[in-house]
């Protein structure tokens, strides 16, 4: 429909599909959400009397591993999009499954990290630093779970033949990819902010 609209009335049409524009607008709101969280982080950190160095307070090797996992998942989902673009069914399913596997791996590693802290008696209420750490990484993990739901839905849909004839399917894969990359970018900032500096 969007393509026919593009030919029918170019003067009232942006040329960007509804799904893509919608995802970008959603990401805009997400930018504001995480901007708020980073504001909180900066304000609290500057007003804190002490702020621990990440290597003393957190498990940096696990954090680095998670960064690598998330970066890799960003590549796999963009590969899934590239395969879907060429209407390569099997390739799409392989890369999408890989993405899902990596996102679960991320959550498992995160679980180990949290477990390590809890077993040391560290909770969000321990200090402002840990409150920030648990809340920010927790909200990020919620976004990962959201991405898993979207990606697994797409993977399930791809087993139906007609989805490949559906003009919007590729757009949905693209939108899911955009969201996933955004979640990756958030982690790219969270990682140094909490673990490294």
């Amino acid at each position: 429909m969007t393509t026919t609209a593009a030919t029918a009335n170019p003067d009232t049409h942006t040329g960007i599909t509804n799904a893509k524009l919608g995802v970008w607008l959603f990401l805009c709101s997400e930018v504001m959400l995480f901007a708020t969280l980073f504001t909180t982080y900066i304000v609290l950190r500057l007003s804190a009397t002490t702020w621990p160095w990440g290597w003393d307070a957190l498990n940096v090797p696990l954090g680095t591993l998670n960064t690598a996992i998330l970066i890799t998942s960003s590549v796999t989902i963009v590969m899934a999009y590239a395969r879907a673009y060429d209407k390569d069914l099997k390739g799409f399913r392989f890369w999408m499954a890989a993405t899902l596997f990596l996102s679960f791996a991320f959550l498992v590693v995160k679980g180990f990290e949290y477990h390590g802290e809890f077993s040391k008696g560290i909770w969000p209420s321990t200090s402002v630093f840990y409150a920030t750490y648990f809340t920010l990484t927790g909200l990020h993990a919620c976004h990962i779970i959201g991405g898993i739901i979207v990606n697994s839905t797409l993977l399930r849909m791809s087993y139906k033949k007609e989805c490949w004839e559906h003009p919007l399917f590729l757009g949905r894969v693209e939108g899911a990819g955009l969201y996933w990359h955004f979640v990756d970018i958030v982690w790219i900032f969270l990682f140094p902010a909490l673990y490294l500096i």
Binding site: T14, L46, S47, A68, T72, S74, P167, I185, I188, I197
Partner: protein
């Protein structure tokens, strides 16, 4: 999609080679930023290096994976607008909490000036 638009469509064709280069760069930068952090540089230097590397990594992801490079101008404009508002969201509370703190009214002179205070 009709055949006529195929040529235009190919400009958006996913560039797998670029993805792989960016992937390598991202992994290297991750190791680099962790290594630099391990050195436990002085505060300002550590923050600037960490932030710089994060910005480079995020830009790579946004430009190549999210294909913002060569994206429609409308989306660029939307993002500029959001950046504009986000700058205020971050900077003004920060200015209130810290940057302008020395300008906050000092209690002592107020107490001495006001007849009811300091009695």
């Amino acid at each position: 999609m009709s055949k006529a638009s195929n040529a235009e469509h190919d400009a958006h064709r996913p560039n797998v080679k670029a993805f792989m280069i960016v992937f390598g760069a991202l992994l290297c930068l991750t190791l680099l930023t962790t290594a630099v952090s391990r050195m436990h540089l002085e505060h300002a230097a550590a923050i600037s290096v960490g932030l710089l590397i994060a910005v480079v990594k995020a830009s790579l992801v946004a430009a190549v994976f999210m294909h913002l490079w060569g994206e429609d101008r409308l989306i660029h404009r939307i993002l500029y607008a959001v950046a504009f508002f986000a700058v205020f969201l971050v900077s003004l509370p920060l200015m209130d909490a810290h940057l302008l703190t020395p300008l906050k009214t000092d209690r002592a002179p107020v107490a001495s000036q006001h007849p009811d205070e300091g009695k």
